[in-house]
């Protein structure tokens, strides 16, 4: 019996810890993901992207392979929050890695999980070329030209890169701008 216990402590517990850490390897916060899940469809409807909508809106989630489960978790949360879509629109969610940005060709919003600067730049370039709203989990990518993210300070508020949005040809509803924190680039600062 002691041998079994020793074996459990020696092999199984480290395995569990390793597995758990692998689930949360990127350090994504569940509450933040929850906020993003509520935010993404609304950001589409509160931007001029809604003009592209017919019967449904499409959100494209780009991630590295390692963040695929988190992406799926986010998609699940969106489905949970908007089981019947939003307003009169069905919500279609597309998930892909940065190597296959083209999956976002019909999307009105591209959401980016953390990745290399190259991948991020690639996605940003794609969104810019197609005039699609881009958002990232991490606000640091605003510096790279992402249109919007989330400011995680004393309070949590949308974080908007007006210049980037302008370059992408995307405009937000005034109300959204009003409640958001406006990102100022390093150059401006």
């Amino acid at each position: 019996m002691d041998t079994i216990k020793k074996a459990l402590y020696r092999y199984f517990v480290p395995f569990l810890m390793l597995y758990a850490s692998s689930l949360n390897a990127s350090g994504y916060d569940d509450d933040v993901l929850e906020i993003f899940s509520k935010m993404l469809p609304r950001f589409v409807l509160m931007s001029n992207q809604k003009n592209l909508l017919k019967e449904r809106l499409e959100i494209c989630i780009l991630n590295d392979k390692i963040d695929e489960k988190t992406a799926l978790m986010l998609m699940s949360k969106i489905d949970t929050n908007y089981p019947n879509g939003i307003k009169n629109y069905k919500i279609r969610l597309v998930e892909g890695d940065y190597a296959n940005v083209n999956v976002c060709r019909n999307s009105q919003l591209i959401f980016m999980f953390d990745s290399t600067d190259e991948n991020i730049a690639k996605a940003i370039r794609y969104s810019k070329e197609n005039h699609v709203l881009s958002m990232s989990y991490d606000a640091k990518y605003l510096e790279n030209g992402v249109g919007a993210s989330l400011f995680l300070g004393r309070k949590v508020v949308p974080y908007i890169n007006i210049n980037a949005l302008h370059k992408n040809g995307v405009e937000f509803d005034n109300l959204l701008v009003q409640i958001s924190k406006i990102y100022a680039s390093e150059e401006v600062r």
Partner: protein
């Protein structure tokens, strides 16, 4: 009301009119201010709630509860007049609550000035999210009302002070007129006691004052003229009266005087005899009456003419008058060439003595002359009666007995004195 003075009527009228106008103006102005304030307050409150509700709803829809709380905290911090702000979700669960000072007496009036309830709707989906209740204090409203009342009070005080000033002014002006009135009422043109001089004032009071002064001056002038005219008239009247009196006296004298002899006539004799008779009757004194007649007077007229006769009559009248000794003795022309003498309180012997005196004077005179022509010596016959008046006799008896005695003297050959024995 009719007995009220114009001064009082003016004062009452002005006070009522002023108070009415000021009250109406203040009432209207206050209503406008309050209405405008309420409209402004409603607009302000509505603007506030319309501004915050989309933000609240968007934050709520995005799940940004902390952002909502901070936003609402900033709102209540920036709006000092918010007493209470509560936010409830669709299930009635309190999401946010703020109560100022923890002790709030909510205003009773739940209107848009003091209370607002706003349904919170998702700006994207337009679904009902919950509701926000906001209570506003009414300090500003009360301050406006209070300030308005203070201003109203100040306006009324200023109006009251101005009215008091106006009343004093009116009373002073009327005192001036009253003084003028008193002077006019006590003014007597004869005393010339109007003491007010012309005024330098150019207003209506000055005009009235100067008009009255000018009127008084004219009255003075006319009074003097009237006085002089009256004086002249009085002199004329006095002169006329004197002339009239003289004329009357002359007329009276003429009525009682014989124009030829200037002796009393028969009417005057009768009046005199009546008076003397009554006097003697009361005094129990005797009266003697001498009736005398010029002897052969018809012959004188016939022989020398009536002008000579008139001369004789006048000369004899003069002798008779000159023969009387007392002022009470009375002589009159009785008619034709007959004369009569009344002697009060005189015995018959004294009367006889008088007759002799007259006879002697006639003798001394001798004849009478007219234009160089002389008459024969003239004589007279005398009949004397004497009587003490009583209830048993009358005054006509004296004449009758004197006449009878004269008749006897004539009968006995003229130039005689006959005493009546009855």
């Amino acid at each position: 009301m009719r007995n009220l003075s114009i001064q009082m009527k003016m004062i009452i009228g002005v006070i009522c009119f002023t108070l009415l106008i000021v009250s109406l103006e203040r009432y209207q102005f206050s209503e406008n201010i309050v209405e405008q304030f309420i409209a402004s307050q409603k607009s302000k409150n509505r603007l506030l709630i319309d501004t915050i509700s989309p933000v609240i709803s968007l934050n709520a829809s995005l799940g940004l509860s902390d952002a909502n709380k901070e936003y609402l905290d900033r709102i209540v911090e920036q709006n000092d007049d918010i007493l209470s702000l509560t936010l409830r979700d669709n299930d009635g669960k309190m999401v946010y609550s703020y109560v100022k000072n923890n002790e709030v007496h909510f205003p009773a009036r739940a209107d848009e000035i003091h209370y607002f309830m706003k349904r919170i709707v998702d700006p994207v989906t337009e679904e009902y999210y919950g509701k926000a209740d906001i209570y506003f204090d009414d300090h500003e409203y009360q301050a406006v009302i209070h300030k308005n009342r203070v201003i109203t009070l100040q306006i009324f005080i200023v109006t009251f002070v101005l009215l008091i000033g106006f009343i004093f002014l009116i009373k002073r002006e009327f005192r001036y007129l009253q003084k003028l009135t008193e002077n006019v009422l006590t003014y007597d043109p004869q005393l010339n006691n109007f003491r007010l001089a012309k005024s330098d004032r150019k207003d209506e009071v000055g005009i009235i004052h100067n008009a009255v002064v000018a009127l008084v001056e004219k009255i003075d002038s006319y009074a003097k003229l009237l006085h002089e005219t009256n004086h002249s008239l009085e002199e004329k009247v006095a002169l006329r009266t004197k002339e009239l009196q003289d004329a009357n006296r002359q007329l009276k004298e003429l009525s009682v005087t014989d124009p030829l002899t200037q002796l009393s006539n028969r009417r005057h004799f009768e009046t005199h005899l009546h008076d003397v008779w009554l006097l003697a009757k009361r005094s129990h004194l005797e009266i003697s009456v001498i009736m005398c007649d010029i002897d052969y007077f018809k012959t004188v007229n016939d022989q020398f003419g009536h002008l000579m006769g008139d001369v004789v009559l006048k000369e004899i009248a003069a002798i008779l008058t000159a023969s009387l000794k007392r002022s009470s003795d009375f002589v009159a022309r009785y008619g034709g060439e007959e004369f009569i003498i009344v002697l009060y309180d005189t015995k018959i012997t004294a009367a006889e003595e008088l007759c002799r005196t007259i006879q002697n004077r006639l003798k001394e005179t001798g004849s009478f002359e007219y234009q160089g022509v002389k008459t024969e010596p003239i004589t007279m016959s005398f009949g004397i009666s004497n009587m003490i008046p009583s209830k048993n006799n009358v005054e006509e008896d004296l004449i009758k007995f004197a006449d009878l005695a004269l008749y006897k003297a004539k009968e006995d050959g003229r130039n005689r004195i006959v005493l009546s024995m009855d």
